[in-house]
Symmetry: D2
Subunit: 336 residues, 4 copies
């Protein structure tokens, strides 16, 4: 068994990783780092009673490195760069589910995250965990930056179109996320009665996933990324409108995904829905080529906590440890 | 009291109209047409027990015309043109909450609604019920076509921009509606367990509200309208992305709405939310002018059944009968 | 117009009262007390933009008494007794939507609310606002204690059964409330992702509405009151199981409600649903007499914020000011 | 690999079983019976694309028996007795997730299910799949009747109390289920806009799970079982009120469950919540002993599709095929 530690086990990403590790046949959770050091993990997360005896500990990179083959970091953005640096210094392979090691340009990081990066020297070795595009580098990676949930839902369908005849106007991405995307920090906006039956947009024009999306598209396009939240827990639906110089045959651009285990190309006129990916690692997408407007409208779906976070992280982990990359992930969405 | 009849009282639009008529001090519901003629309305709709003694009747235009000062039609699209023609022939003022009298071009109607219009001779006299733009015509209108819910949420913010320096690319509208937008007809897609925690797009590029939106913008722009449905009952949030030739000052374009009772311009950086309009007649919107992309991103909110249907219909009715147009509508959203 | 003030306008009860006052033809909101004195009410509650120019003020009983004919208090439990005492001393008629003046026995208040009552001298003059049972006293009341939401849903169906042949075992009440029942104070338990798709019970055996229910039943019965919360915003469904010494004919016990405007007796085998009361002042109930078990099972429904709070408060207000008690309330539930 | 067939793969129980079989390391789905014979399973259930190549077939017991080591039946109540009889005749081990083989008394079956049992001769050999109580019989079972979802949530906490000093009055069970409990058959009552924000009771006094619960409690008690549905997809919360002759120490009665892998006794004052069991096989429960009323109030939680159906079925399957009974099930709830 491969011994695994989690830093930040009780956040939403950490909980989902813990759940998925229960399914994984080759990995064992041996350490959980939380502020509540000394408390049993299943006292904090009763859903894991009778499944784990792990007692939470406070962060100590050396200790973790001795007892773990891999450590996942699942803490809020800007909080993982220091932890990641310490874990790398201690020599343990590290998988960061947060944003700190995704943006290669420290200036862009500063602009969007409003802090200075404290470990820029690690950026060159960090491998972006979007498996179809970084599969080989991931096998030997010591530090993985798991993609953001929104970027995964956008880059999967857009990256193959880099050489398509796109018009010179910004790509429009309107994406809606379930409430878990905002994490477990309390806020009046996310109080149940405030969000139930509500939908709204936020961070228009300034969301921190914008530079990540543009970076992974080779910084060849401007992306107008408008995130929304809706009254449900999980899942991101991204509607992507691409203006073209001419109508194209779309399907051939996506043949690259035919053997990808967790990317499902639905085809022309078949639109993705959240329910088909919930609880699973898949990214689904389909499209309509609108000849009237010369717009290609793509709709993609991902579970932000699985295909957009913990499932992708385990897929990377599987590659890093020489396992079949589908190990512990080859199950379908929970619908209903 | 002004005597009112409803054709189609038990659909979602009809129910909401019935609820609002209970609030209205000058209107009285005297007739309800339903297939279940002979049944008390409050047997079909128990929420109205102890409030009405109306017994449903089957459709007869002459009878309605004798007993009603105004008749509202609240039936599915393509089903109201025959009813409306009969009511007009019988001489009663008619307010159609469906789409049949909105599109002035019968060819566009045929293309999007897939049927031939059977009363095209009435189209010239039908007044489109978007009050700020048709207020004077509404006072004397004999036949009103209440705007569609999506179009209302899109045309309010876009129409004042007609003379702005828009780039020559389609306007992108990604809108999400609650499930009442699909009406009360059963479908597997709208079975509770199928839609809960689900979001999806539908009718991409072919939705019948596209020509209505373009018509009310003077057919000067192409609109890429992509509707979605989400796991909640009421409300439409429309996110509108307009590419501009140059950055503009936006606020002055919206001064036209300062005295409009039911259009609320929130301003730069203030984005509309569904919860602030639920159950009320308001359309709220705000925007971000993104100088990086030269896109103007507008977010508008409307309750599809009130501001998008029954409330707008009553506002028209008030004008038609010489009442203050706010009568029976001057209350705020139900939040939470 | 009767001039009205609200102390606590931005809590959920206060918001709903503000919404309903917009509908009421004889009342005008002239004062709103909030911690944020000096702020426009519609800046705090954007759903009321273009509807009110009221600027919030801090609490001053004398000032309120001069400008208002009636003051509603809508603050959390145990916070209104001091406010109510000050308002009464200033001579203004006061309607408290909180629990502080409901329990006539200060010892029971202390036991369940964990504080000493600071204005017990006002308890004798406080009139319990359950209209069918206190209608005459309400006309001249200077201080009204609006019933709790759970108690209203339970006492309406149970009080007429006081003389029925009940067995000598506790009455079982399992009630479920929407999340607004917990108010707007943030708590991890009510964070959207924690409560969505969740149901739970709370305060089993110790909920503070227990003595209120038992008091209004004449302290003749023990009530096992088990409250729950579910993943929705509004409404209380109470399922009441009464063990009987013998099977009874139930309908005659409820003839007392035939002319009550806001109590709707659905009858044998017709069970109440939340959707039929949402947004309205009604309490609906029906029942099954189970001859196999000799249990009478009653199911009642109320909107906790309207029929259970603000609507009931306005019904009391109408009586106090000589209006038809249905004024501003005679509309049906919002379904859907 | 143990070869498995499902009759009724696209119902909600069948879908969940298909999902769980994807996780199970020793079982392989080789046959799916549906009306749509000839269609790929993943065309009917897109969440399983890239996971299965199974093509649906129509029912043929002989064919299934040849190709499968075990067949699960997941069809609506009263539809499985004929299928089960055919499968048993063909000699394949059969696990019925429906109610047809649960009730040992054909008269009770007829009374509650309104049809005559067509295979009563199989009832003696059918083993009730409530593992803690039938573990040994399950190892050799040829025909298993998986318990109902409501009964599992009620019998787990009640069965150990059979010898407690219960008063001679009916036990009160008020249970609430998510909408998947009603299956995928369309009905206006379960149309999204009708059930969202709604709660209601149904089949009061006549629900078909009543005799199943009473049977498993040895027919020693009357149970007043009142089921409800609420606006969410999954999970049953059962609130059980037991009147006692005297106050008892409760914990010792539940020591029987200390080593049960999927029953979690939370203890005094710790109440179960749906979120901790969602997507998992656990039944959680806790209680309050109310000395004031001499009532024991127990709250239990189960995921109706997993712990209440497909997970329990796999636990039985594991026992039948000599596997560790936790195989493929040892993961925690999906929260959030």
């Amino acid at each position: 068994m491969i011994r695994v530690g989690i830093v930040g086990a009780i956040g939403y990403g950490g909980r989902e990783l813990t759940r998925l590790l229960g399914i994984h046949p080759e990995a064992e959770l041996v350490a959980a780092v939380e502020l509540e050091g000394g408390t049993r993990l299943d006292d904090l997360l009763p859903q894991f009673r009778k499944l784990t005896d792990v007692v939470c500990e406070t962060f100590d990179a050396e200790t973790l490195a001795k007892r773990c083959d891999a450590v996942f970091i699942a803490v809020p953005g800007t909080k993982s760069m220091a932890l990641g640096a310490a874990l790398r210094a201690a020599g343990v392979r590290t998988i960061d589910m947060g944003p700190d090691f995704r943006i290669q340009d420290p200036a862009a990081f500063r602009q969007y995250y409003k802090v200075e990066h404290t470990a820029p020297e690690l950026l060159p070795e960090a491998v972006y965990g979007l498996v179809p595009y970084y599969r080989e580098q991931l096998r030997d990676a010591q530090l993985v930056a798991v993609p953001g949930c929104y970027p995964a839902s956008v880059v999967f369908p857009l990256k193959p179109l880099i050489d398509a005849p796109l018009a010179d106007v910004p790509i429009v991405v309107d994406a809606i996320s379930g409430m878990t995307g905002a994490g477990r920090a309390l806020a009046e906006a996310f109080h149940f009665p405030e969000m139930n039956e509500n939908v709204k947009a936020y961070k228009v024009g300034v969301h921190q996933h914008t530079p990540e999306i543009e970076q992974e598209l080779g910084n060849k396009f401007l992306v107008q990324f408008t995130p929304h939240v809706g009254p449900y827990s999980r899942g991101i639906l991204s509607t992507i409108t691409v203006h073209l110089k001419e109508t194209i045959q779309v399907a051939p651009y996506y043949e690259c995904y035919v053997d990808e285990p967790f990317v499902r190309v639905l085809g022309e006129g078949r639109l993705a829905e959240l329910k088909h990916v919930r609880g699973s690692t898949f990214c689904d997408f389909g499209w309509v080529m609108d000849t009237r407007t010369r717009n290609l409208v793509i709709v993609s779906a991902i579970d932000n906590l699985v295909g957009g976070t913990a499932g992708m992280a385990i897929q990377c982990f599987n590659l890093m440890f020489g396992l079949d990359e589908r190990t512990g992930l080859a199950f379908g969405g929970m619908a209903p």
